[in-house]
Structures are given as structure tokens and as C-alpha cells.
Assembly symmetry: C3
Homo-oligomer: 264 residues x 3
């Protein structure tokens, strides 16, 4: 499969997609920079008056509910609707779904009113969406499930979109097949926002290549292989994060030969 | 005292407290990451609908008024009240108190309506709260006072909480005793948000260990010892900040033997 | 000219100006830190009640419209007006001007209602303001023009302020003369917010030295020479950004001998 993934990365590099983010104020800078390092072009804006004109010219929209307030929730719903109307792929990261009723309500609203093309969360969030009450503690936690491959596949069928559940092992499904991805490094768990960053990379890949499962698998694999390389010789979470940007920026399509991807 | 401090650090490592922050948008990412590096689990959310459900399950709440607006001020007051009602410790960082009437008003309101368990500011902010009009220029400045130990002790009695005033020398008092802490490095003054980060570390320590003066002293000592280590071989504020995350992450309880703490 | 520029840097170092920012939530932390590394003192606040009292005591105000919403737009207009009334220089960065009608409207409003002392944007934004419809794609892009020197000069006459258009080559004009600046490194294009950071450095320099073209030229030259040094031995955008802070912090007035500045 690594040849297919390399094609996805080449697509990003040749197209340099414009990725419109409405994301949280905690990790927004990291999302912008990782998007650039993935060879995308980030734009962050959440005023409704701006969204109406920015979203249609984007190649993908990333909606991340890490921090919410009434104004930005409306902006996310608007951006999602405008994107769908204009054929712009929508990636949704339901950060903290399962943690509070408000988050659950917003996640449900975005899923029903927008209909994202890709839903990417950690295992706890995706489990919650699937109706399994995940143990969500904070927003950096992950549940786990031996049945996660089945769960993402079922969820992708139910929602009619690509679903990805991330953790030590990542699972991706597109309504037909489920994939198991085994790259990454434990150091990712010690940096705030690695999940948010990955959503931005996913947005970059579907922005360049369209809503295909290979794009999502390639994005996750590229990010996680970059993390493996960044962990070599790093001295802790601070230097790991710096090296992660460098490492993704330097990753080449041929490096995706290291991708550990299998069908479930 | 270093044995007592080591116990505090061990408490954080074994409990990994969930620390709910309502903080400024300037240094929020650094607060999240330093909380992780202190072995806490950060969550940042400020929508009132979210606060109601997130705050009660947190182990500590950090309210930081670095950037304010009417919406987030209400969220801070609400989070503080919900925390107190649920026995969750509240750490308050009155950033910029003394600089403008609006900041003074918000600080006074949080102190009177919430009743924080720990108030941690720089010397200028704490001096202002004490009624000494500190020379507060910007939010990274510090006043100084030979009487600072007395001042924090008096203030801790008046407010019935732990008070910490940070600067080249740090002072902590709990209504009975005042402590003088002499760790740290001048490079901390060249990175925006080291004070905010320290408040997050204090929140992490009281979240794990309860509202005890040893927890606050241990948090400040750990952060400042980490800063001393980070300054070794750094090349300026950029590399110092990266090393600070690494250094705190790698700090072990036995490293607190370097703590320079004495009773005033 | 490098002797004149060195004088500007010495002015910043001796005066350590307080720079009030109302800027976007994407790169605000980088703006704060680069201001410190340029030897300024940053303060970020956007509540109208706070702006009224903070702006008059600042040495410069930086208004950056990277992210906008109705509340912060009003805060920017207010801060600009208060600054002008109090003789505080205003630097305006019209991020994304040309990209959406909302951004164009806000930029026009700030220019007409505030009357900034310095307008600094990338070539695409400045071209748009000049009535040439720049190809603005995202907010990190730049148009290009052989006539850019003429354009900034004309624009500086029209608006009665200093105008700077940045890119691979930077152009600065003050209504009388136009300057061409040729320092910098391609790596700057791979880090989100280098343009925002530069606006903060410009604010720091005019805050210390007043609204003179030498201050703006010195700020841009210092930042770009620091970037050249940072690029040496960096391993990608992550390590480049870290080194950029270190490098600007360590830059000395005599290093401005490397400035490549000529009259157009």
C-alpha cells in the first residue's frame, strides 16, 4: 500500500491545498505550522462574515471543537454548510466528545447539520460517538477497544463518511473496509495538540486528493512516521515537538515505505 | 524540606491530576504543555455551558486573567464558584492587576466572589493586591520589596488562602508561615508566559496534593529548578523555552534536593 | 545606512518600549516572544474596558487583523483612536486584505478611522490596498511586482504614513523616498506568523524611536538578518523558528552592517 500512500503525498506537494480551519485557541498555532509542514497552506478565520467568502475558495475545511463558545459554534456550522454546498471536503475533530453534555450536543449538531466527510477523533471520542460510553478524561485521553476496527467500520457506514479513531493504534474505515495503522511514538501523548495537528494534516491530504480513504491513511501514516523520526534523539516533549515539525517537513513520499498499514 | 517537596512531586506523578484552565489566549498552549510536563492532564474550556460540567470533575481550576473579555470573565467567575461548591481547589493568577481599573475590578471580583485557594502573581501584582501600588508595567514586570515576605504573609491572612509572589526571589505564605524561595534563572524573564506556566504547575500540584503550602512551594521549586537546568547550554529565549518543557518533564523527585527554600 | 540602523537598535535596547498588541489568536504567542527578543515589552489585551487605559501608556500599538470578529474589530478601532489621541504610534498589519470583502471592509475602516502611522503587509495585501487586485491566497502568500517600490511610495503619499510591503524583497516608503531591502531567508515562508512577528518588531522599533523610516527599515533588517542567522544549521521550520527567537535576541547593533538596504 505504501506506493498508494506515496501518491497521496505527491498530490499534496503538487497542489499545496488551502485548508480553512476553525479550531481551538490552544493549539491553533501548531495546526497552522503543521499544515505548512505537510505542504498545505493554512487559513484560520471564524467570523461568520469572513467564513462565507473564505470557505468556498478553500480546498478543505477542518472543524475542531477543542474550545467552544456560542459564536464559534455557529461559525463552525456555517463553515461546514458553506463547504458542503461548494463541494469542499469537511474534516471534523470532535475533541472532548463524551466529556460534557455541551460537547456532545455540539458534536451531534455538526454531524447532523453539516455531514462531515471525515470524522477523526481519539478512541474515546469515537467510541462515545458510536454510542459506547468512552472513558473520556480531559481531551488528550484515549479509550481502547479490541473491537475498534469493527466500531469505526460500523460508524463509517452509519454516518456515510470516513471515520478515523486514533491512539497507539489507529483505525480508519470508509464504509467498506477498515484499516489498522501501527506507526507513531509514545512521545505524542506528552504534547498537547498532536491530535489537533493530525486533523490538520488529514485536512491537507483530503484537500489535495479528495475524500478517499487512501488520503486519510496517508495523512495519519505520514504524521506518525514523522513522529517516530522526531522521537529519535529528542530530549523530552519540548524538543520532540520542534523536531516533529522539522520531520514532517522533510518527509518524502518514499519514506512512506515505513507505513504499517493493514486491512482489518 | 526537600524530602517534603519530593513527596509532593511523587503525588503529582501518581495521581496525574486533571487541571481545568480558563486562561489567556497568549500563553494557553504553553500552559497546556507545561501542565503535561509537570505530569498533569490539562483541559482548557471557557464556554459557560461546558464549565458547569467540566469543572466539577477537575482536580484543580486555574483562573488566569492575562486576557479578559466580558464573556470569559463570567466564565471564570462561574468556574470558580462551581469549583468551590465541589471542593475543587482554585488557583488564581491576577495577571496585570494594578495596570488598569478593569483588571483591578476583575481581580477584586474573583477574589471576593470565588475566594481562591491560592493566589499567585508577580511581585507587582501581589503588591497591588496588598494595597501597595506596585509599579506594574505590562504584564511581565515585577515590583520588588524587602518586605515582600511580610506582605505575602499579611495578604494570606487577610484573604485566608495561600499567597505566592514570584520574581527573582519567590515568596509563599499560608496564613501562618512565609517561605523564601531562591531558585530560578534570569532567562525566565525573556520568555512570555513563564508566570502563566508556573500557575499551571501550581494548579497541577494542588490538584494532586490538596491545598497545602508544601504543594505550592514544591511546584515553584520544581519549575525553577527545571529552568536552571534548561538555561544550561541554551542559546537564547527560544531554545530556553523548548528546554524548559524537556527539563520539567525529566525532573525527578530527588532533583528537589536543589530547592533553596527557607522560612522567612 | 547601517550606522543609522544601529542607532535605531540601540534606541530599542535603551528604552525597552511597551508595545500594546491587538492581534490574532494564531500567532499571538510568537508576537509576544519576538517583541521580547527585540528588546520590547509586549502587552496583549483586547477588552474595550482595558484598551481605554492600557493604550495611552503604551509606546506603540500593533493592530493585526489575522483573525477578526465583531468584538475585536471594535477593540482595534478603539485602540487605534485612543493611541492617535495620545500620540502613541499605530502599526497596522492588514493580514489577508484582498482575500474577503469582510477583511477589505475592516482594513478600509481602520485606515480611514484610525489613520495608522505605519502600514505593513505582504506584497499581495499592500498591492490590494493600492487598488491593484493582488493574488491573495491564504494569509501567508505574497504577490510580486516590479513596480512595488513605486507602489509603496505612492501608497505612502496617499495615506500620509510609512508603508512597508514584505516578501523576498521588502519595500519601505515614507512619502518621500522608497527603500529596497534584500535580507531574509526562504525558510521564513514555512513558518506561520513570520509576517505578524515582523509587525511586532516594527511596533517595537517605532515605539522606541518614533515614526521614522529608519526605525521601520531597521526593524525589518534586524528581523531578516536574524532569520538568515537562524537558517544556518536549522533542520526545518520547527528548529528555524526556535533559532529565530534566539537569533534576534542575540543580534547586536553592529550586526546591522549586514543590512542590504538601498534607495529605490
Amino acid at each position: 500500500m505504501s506506493a498508494d500512500l506515496a501518491v497521496q503525498m505527491e498530490g499534496v506537494r503538487s497542489r499545496r491545498p488551502l485548508v480553512h480551519h476553525i479550531t481551538n485557541y490552544v493549539t491553533v498555532n501548531d495546526c497552522a505550522n503543521i499544515c505548512i509542514c505537510a505542504w498545505g497552506s493554512p487559513v484560520m478565520t471564524d467570523a461568520e462574515d469572513d467564513v462565507r467568502d473564505m470557505t468556498p475558495v478553500a480546498n478543505a475545511v477542518v472543524l475542531n471543537m477543542g474550545t467552544l463558545n456560542p459564536r464559534t459554534v455557529e461559525a463552525m456550522v456555517l463553515a461546514g454548510k458553506v463547504a458542503k454546498k461548494n463541494g469542499v471536503p469537511v474534516v471534523f475533530d470532535p475533541v472532548g466528545a463524551g466529556a460534557t453534555p455541551y460537547r456532545n450536543e455540539v458534536a451531534a449538531r455538526i454531524i447532523s447539520e453539516v455531514g462531515p466527510d471525515v470524522i477523526k477523533g481519539n478512541a474515546g471520542e469515537i467510541s462515545f460517538l458510536a454510542g459506547f460510553q468512552g472513558l473520556v478524561r480531559g481531551v488528550d485521553s484515549a479509550g481502547s477497544s479490541e473491537d475498534m476496527a469493527t466500531l469505526v467500520l460500523e460508524l463509517s457506514k452509519k454516518f456515510g463518511c470516513i471515520v478515523a479513531a486514533t491512539g497507539t493504534i489507529d483505525y480508519v474505515a470508509d464504509g467498506k473496509d477498515a484499516y489498522v495503522l501501527c506507526n507513531g511514538h509514545s512521545m505524542q501523548g506528552f504534547v498537547s495538540g498532536t491530535g489537533c495537528m493530525l486533523s490538520s494534516v488529514v485536512g491537507t491530504y483530503v484537500g489535495a486528493n479528495g475524500v478517499v480513504v487512501d488520503a486519510v491513511v496517508a495523512a495519519i501514516s505520514a504524521f506518525n512516521i514523522a513522529a517516530e523520526k522526531a522521537a529519535e534523539g529528542c530530549d523530552g516533549p519540548g524538543s520532540f515537538k520542534v523536531a516533529l515539525f522539522d520531520s514532517l517537513f522533510k518527509l518524502r513520499p518514499e519514506d512512506l515505505v515505513s507505513a504499517k498499514v493493514s486491512k482489518a
